[in-house]
């Protein structure tokens, strides 16, 4: 490198120095805290390490999507908590999106009643702290549910009680073949759609893709049932008496009330924000666009689907990404109502039993960070896909 360029009067270097110093200062603060923590822990006889993750956890968890009991390790307990966090986030995001879109469109409805109901919904649910809503659903709403012996029965195959919602369990034979057929169906649908697009763009022919896609999705898996030995039976929950007045259900799958309350609260709350995003997005599309679409003979559905929504989505997606992130992070309030998410199981029970605060809190923070960044990356990809493609 040329010595002249290293001269302090060179503008590039001069601009660089404050930045380098800032980074160094920040690093030294971090190093200071790390060393300090290490010394303090040393003084107090606390060791540091992640070996505990392999130790036996010896506590049980109410609800787990993978096989788990107390004889598994803390690492496994972490995984159970993580999956439960992801589960409630996915359910929450799914319902928040549906409710949000419906409410957002309803607010723009010409029907006075529908528009007002949607407005009141938004104003009420977004202005009450989430933790109170969680408590409301768990302690007030679910408390009104009956005990198992008087459970609300749906056709005698599913029961809603204060101990949870008992639903039939699916018992599959040859599930793999079925799964394969679903994947095949989706691939087929993809090709049908791209064929339809080509037909439309080249010859202006409209092909009813939705009906054809639906038919494919039903027909292909149906074939596996009829000819390839796939079958599905149900195991229904049955009332079981534990003592003269204590009842529960046996068999089937129990959806615990903690999950129901948390998913309800999260989706109802987040939906209000998504609804506002949707409303803003639709209003953000110029009136002239709709009029132009109408003038070339598109019907109302086509206008919404082909002209308004593609443009509205560009406005809706970025703030909605924020709401998805918020919902995921807010799911950590689960601990208040005993839903075994990562905070309750890992940053709660496991932290208590092992006393390894620094390790466990760091792992938990990193986990949330990873989850949030993954959602971010996915939504950014989707946003880019939806963005205007300049030709």
């Amino acid at each position: 490198m040329n010595l002249k360029k290293l001269n302090i009067e060179n503008k590039k270097i001069r601009d660089l120095i404050p930045q380098v110093l800032t980074v160094l200062a920040l690093l030294s603060v971090i190093i200071y805290f790390a060393i300090n923590a290490q010394i303090n822990m040393g003084n107090r006889g606390i060791s540091f390490g992640f070996g505990f993750l392999n130790q036996e956890a010896s506590f049980d968890i109410t609800f787990s999507m993978i096989e788990y009991d107390g004889s598994h390790s803390y690492g496994r307990a972490f995984l159970v908590g993580l999956l439960n966090t992801i589960l409630v986030s996915v359910i929450g995001i799914f319902f928040a999106t549906i409710i949000g879109v419906v409410v957002g469109i309803s607010r723009l409805s010409d029907n006075y009643l529908i528009a007002k109901v949607a407005e009141w919904y938004v104003e009420i649910f977004r202005n009450i702290p989430l933790i109170l809503q969680i408590f409301f659903w768990y302690f007030a709403a679910l408390r009104a549910l009956p005990l198992p012996e008087n459970g609300i029965s749906f056709n005698d195959i599913s029961f809603l009680t204060i101990k949870g919602w008992y639903v039939p369990k699916f018992i599959w034979t040859n599930f793999n073949i079925f799964l394969l057929s679903i994947i095949t169906a989706f691939i087929a649908i993809y090709f049908i759609n791209s064929y339809a697009t080509k037909q439309r763009e080249q010859f202006g022919k409209q092909i009813p893709t939705i009906i054809i896609s639906l038919a494919t999705l039903i027909l292909i898996p149906l074939i596996t049932f009829l000819f390839l030995g796939v079958s599905l039976t149900f195991e229904y929950p049955v009332l079981k008496q534990l003592s003269p007045t204590v009842f529960t259900y046996e068999g089937g799958v129990s959806i615990i009330p903690e999950l129901i309350a948390l998913a309800l609260a999260l989706s109802m709350y987040t939906a209000t924000f998504i609804a506002e995003n949707v409303r803003a997005g639709i209003l953000g599309v110029g009136k002239g666009q709709k009029e132009a679409a109408a003038s070339i003979g598109l019907n109302k559905n086509q206008i919404l689907k082909l002209v308004v929504m593609p443009q509205a989505l560009r406005i809706i997606i970025p703030p909605t990404t924020n709401q998805y992130l918020n919902l995921t992070k807010n799911s950590s309030l689960a601990a208040a109502i005993a839903y075994p998410d990562i905070v309750l199981v890992f940053a709660g029970t496991a932290l208590m039993q092992t006393g390894r605060a620094i390790e466990i809190i760091s792992i938990t923070m990193l986990t949330y960070l990873t989850l949030s960044i993954s959602i971010s990356i996915f939504m950014n990809w989707y946003n880019k896909k939806m963005a205007i493609k300049e030709k």
Binding site: I31, I35, R143, I337, A338, Q353
Partner: protein, 348 residues
Amino acid sequence: MIKSFKTWILVGLASLLLVACGQGGGGAGSKKSKTLENTKKAGFVKCGVSQGLPGFSNADEAGNWTGIDVDVCRAVAAAVLGDADKVKYTPLSAKERFTALTSGEIDVLARNTTWTLSRDADIGLTFVGVNFYDGQGFMVRKNSGINSVNDFKNGISACTNTGTTTELNMRDFFNSKNISYEPIAFEKADEVVQAYDAGRCDTYTTDKSGLAAQRTKMSNPDEHKVLPETISKEPLGPVVRQGDAVWEDIVRWSLNTMIEAEEYGVNSSNASSLKDSENPAIKRLVGSEGELGAAFGLDNDWSLRIIEQVGNYGESYKKHIADTGILPNRGPNQLWTKGGILYVPPAR
């Protein structure tokens, strides 16, 4: 201009070096008790208690804390500062308690905490004694027809607190009985009570003293009962940070003094009149013989102040546990001379 940039770099490097080398300080290994010094300087004992467990540590509407755990803190304050009221209470959840202690936010943890090997050895804590011998039990509805743990069947749901030994005992118990169960663990005791009260779970399990105390909070206490079986040993006692032996001794012997005082019949009303007692053990307790306080840097009246201001263990138990109807029968928490297991080393 050039000069100032060079100085910047120098200052930056120097501060980095300082950060890297200038560690140390804040160590607790010295012979003097840093905690004792700090407590005297602050003028109050920093004590961690529960978020509200009647009989052990519970605040009334005016914010005054009472209970047998609170009395341990009061005893330490009386011994060290001369006034039992000079205590700053920090209510802690089961999850927060040890971190609060090891980080120095509190100096004594008197929060119905079970003494176990891993807690004692692993996470920088030292248990100084036992102020309540407890055991885990189960509460059920009276009309449930469950009269013993042997009536539990597969599929029972059990509510408890998270972050406690209870969660572990529960698993051990149900496993040993080969019963499949649904564990539901809440962070706060109040939420456990609410969920159990609502019928979310069939039984509520925690330390028996806790069950007795929480029963009083149910919407209808008479509808519930505690099963006779005890499924675990739960010696509850005060905890201090590891590494300050003098402070550890002060807390240990403050508790021991209360128990020994009961053994020798010394109580808050007769303590000062016993200065001329015939019994040297009593004279040592009230400070008219020996120089016991000097061993941990206190004056000779430290134990007298504890007895006068806080009372002996029996008085404390009667006031907070028996008279409040929580556990009128002292059971194992009776003196060894009266059939219990309270036995402390002699103060001499």
